[in-house]
Symmetry: C2
Subunit: 476 residues, 2 copies
């Protein structure tokens, strides 16, 4: 088993090592595209299953739109095409012939969907239109890292149309809240939420709401976004409806999404020196069973007992892996499952068998404890709950310990250099100011604090008087 670089020594290399050694993904020969391996893909399936039920609960239905977008669709909305054109992959030939019009491989589906929405929507009775799609997306990236930034990635994109701005805003915030709840309850991730600055707003949107997590290296990571698109696209694609008052109006729209980047987020926010740590809800295996034996007789007895524990826990809905491989030592297995982040390891040897107990090791705290076999059925599900909550608490404390305030750029830079994290500071600058600040400090505005200050302060960059606070961070 390959070693992983210590996190404290080189976080970027640690990350790449974890992805490889924990068997999450592999490089492919296609520039910027990864292969998601079974262990990594299973995490994505668990994310999909939980999030999809939250999406459906909100009355949003799944659909599937074409992978290809006629180039002329993309250019219909000025800001949108400016934002995405540089990142597009273009199909110029199909079926052995040059195409009359090149096709763009979807970098996001607003334009291809909204062209059809215009046909679907005629009357207020057709609203709200609430759809979602799970799909692959292509954005040509120069510097890629598995899960965090890849040329092709998997995501879900929700797209809604409403009769009024108010309803659309409510939906954009509902989606944000859904992500916030999901991040907290399922991924054990505390996050900051709020509006993005103008510079970071989705190309074509009125505003963008974001969920921002904090990696263990002190960098922020955008985990999901929800956009109020307003009427920008409705006007470009003629999405009009006859309202109850008989008037023809443009629809109000939102779109929102999360991607396989969430897997990268889990790694950078929960990982430690030993590798990946998975919150139980998103763990392909929640419990791994490792037998210890010397003689054949011992092996047989331990295997029988562990098989019975395996069945019992599996029946209770726990995801268990019985590591019965014979050619590997217990120590090798311990290490492998630690790198892979399995929340609970159960070990049993001949003496444990005699004592009718097992040793249980927690991945989140490294604690080890003896538990009688008879009480595993009640204790393991409880323990998984405890670990899920504890991992959230650990991440929450880390986030709180790495949230600071600053009243000058120097102060902010010192904090970010020393400790990383989020720095709350007054901001009254322009998008251009933000660009300049980023060049100088590598920090960007992650979200704008919703509540305004009662007493105005000086913007840390422009010096303008402002009532607005923002969170800065260096980010993925």
């Amino acid at each position: 088993m390959s070693k992983i670089t210590p996190q404290s020594q080189n976080f970027s290399q640690w990350y790449l090592d974890v992805v490889q050694v924990a068997d999450l993904a592999d490089y492919s020969k296609v520039k910027g595209c990864m292969v998601i391996k079974p262990y990594g893909y299973r995490i994505w399936e668990l994310i999909q299953r939980d999030l999809d039920s939250r999406i459906k609960e909100a009355g949003v239905q799944n659909v599937y739109f074409p992978l290809f977008i006629p180039e002329s669709f993309l250019t219909k909305e000025k800001d949108h095409v400016e934002g995405f054109a540089p990142e597009c992959a273009i199909v110029t030939h199909g079926g052995g012939k040059k195409l009359a019009e090149p096709l763009v491989v979807r970098p996001t589906s607003e334009t291809i969907m909204y062209d059809t929405f215009a046909d679907w929507i005629q009357s207020y009775r057709d609203l709200p239109l609430l759809v979602n799609q799970w799909a692959n997306i292509v954005r040509w990236e120069m510097r890629t890292r598995p899960f965090l930034r890849t040329t092709e990635f998997l995501w879900q994109e929700g797209h809604t149309v409403h009769a009024t701005k108010e309803e659309a805003e409510t939906e954009a915030h509902r989606a944000l809240k859904m992500y916030e709840d999901f991040d907290r309850d399922f991924l054990a991730l505390p996050i900051l939420t709020g509006k993005k600055s103008e510079k970071e707003t989705f190309a074509g949107a009125d505003y963008t709401l974001s969920t921002e997590a904090l990696a263990r290296d002190g960098k922020a990571i955008q985990a999901g976004t929800s956009h109020l698109l307003g009427q920008t696209f409705a006007k470009a694609f003629e999405i009009q409806f006859q309202d109850q008052d008989g008037e023809i109006k443009y629809g109000w729209q939102t779109s929102w999404g999360v991607s396989t980047r969430l897997i990268g987020t889990i790694i950078v926010c929960h990982g430690d020196e030993k590798g990946l740590r998975l919150p139980p809800r998103v763990a392909p295996y929640q419990v791994v069973l490792v037998p210890i034996w010397k003689t054949d007789e011992e092996k047989q007895q331990v295997f029988i007992e562990l098989s019975s524990i395996n069945n019992k826990l599996t029946d209770q809905g726990v995801r268990v892996y019985f590591d019965d491989r014979e050619n590997l030592s217990p120590g090798f297995k311990f290490n492998e499952w630690e790198v892979k982040g399995v929340p609970v390891r159960i070990e049993m040897g001949p003496r444990d068998l005699k004592d009718a107990q097992v040793f249980v090791a927690r991945r989140d705290t490294n604690e080890k404890m003896a538990i009688p076999v008879a009480s595993l059925g009640s204790e393991i599900p409880d323990l998984l709950e405890t670990i899920q909550e504890n991992m959230y608490e650990q991440a929450k404390i880390f986030l709180e310990d790495h949230t600071f305030e600053a009243e000058s750029v120097d102060e902010m830079v010192k904090i970010l250099d020393d400790k990383g994290g989020f720095v709350k500071a007054p901001w009254g600058g322009t998008a251009d100011d933000e660009r300049k600040l980023q060049e100088e400090t590598k920090a960007t505005i992650r979200v704008i604090v919703e509540e305004k200050m009662k007493t105005k302060k000086k913007c840390i960059f422009s010096g303008n008087e402002t009532d607005t606070l923002v969170y800065f961070a260096r980010a993925y």
Copy 2:
């Protein structure tokens, strides 16, 4: 609500009407690509959920490989590239620049996967390698029809590598059996299975096994295929392993898949004059509740009772839709849900309420019966089972009634012209003979009968003596 063309009058137009009016899919502005609407996509999700659990039960794990394939990969296997190159969509530009090597949008993933498999497989301990992916596929098609043949479609593709030919053959047959079971138990579809002729074999495979269903217009439809790839790709991509005996050997491979074409298969095999008919297991809604009322008081009472029935059935795991739309007549709703193929309709009006009963209409037989409200909880789940079985029986009888034998081309053509269906006949011709026969008769060999004849007969086309029987049909 738009009318649908009678099936008996014009089956092709009937099909297109059903797809539109039942709200399954819509045309897009991208040539040959469709939009799968919520009702159609829900059918695909139900197919995925059931089939995915069968795939996982067989020990196959899900993965995700890149959408793009370097052109040089595709050309590594001669037959494969000949088969697929004419259908490929080609990306020539990415990120604003011309690519050094064009990328093919995957028409199937053998080549991109197997290049990586060669890295993953070193020893017999790494075998069998059993993976599957749910993905979108692009094949440039000249003549398209929603679900049946589209430029982009969704599918699953299983890919396995084994140490011996025998194991690979067992796997290819396991996959075929899995599809056969799934078609029968989930889609209520009886099918013919068997090997394809050389002409219809997957490009690069040793042989192809197929599942063939029979549409109501008498045409065959290929529903799924499983290929023994042998060592063809292993040699092209250097998939080698050190066996237990210390020798370096090439792996033996299979691949197998079904696609959104299954939705088209359901439509053409189960549909009738009124539109779609869905077997309960694959129906987004298994039961629709339609209230009937005149006065507000009646409405209120009927709604209360139907809500309670809705809750009761939903709690039992039945997928129910309470059609409480106020601006539409019951007759309109009846028609709409019939077109959409919902297996069971429950109607309730004021008199039924008084009698503590509902009227239940079966979509499969058009029967209507009164059922006491008190017994719905037990009767509806049973009825859904009955309908599932009956639809299979209906399709089985249709298949049996449309399976014929012939000993000459003329006899076969007469049968196909008059009734359609499968025609079993002796065959000893070449791939070229099959091509000629198809030109003359529009019939192709669907599958080869496994059992050989004890007494040889004359091939209906070449006149050669042969012990082989095949099933001919005109096909989708």
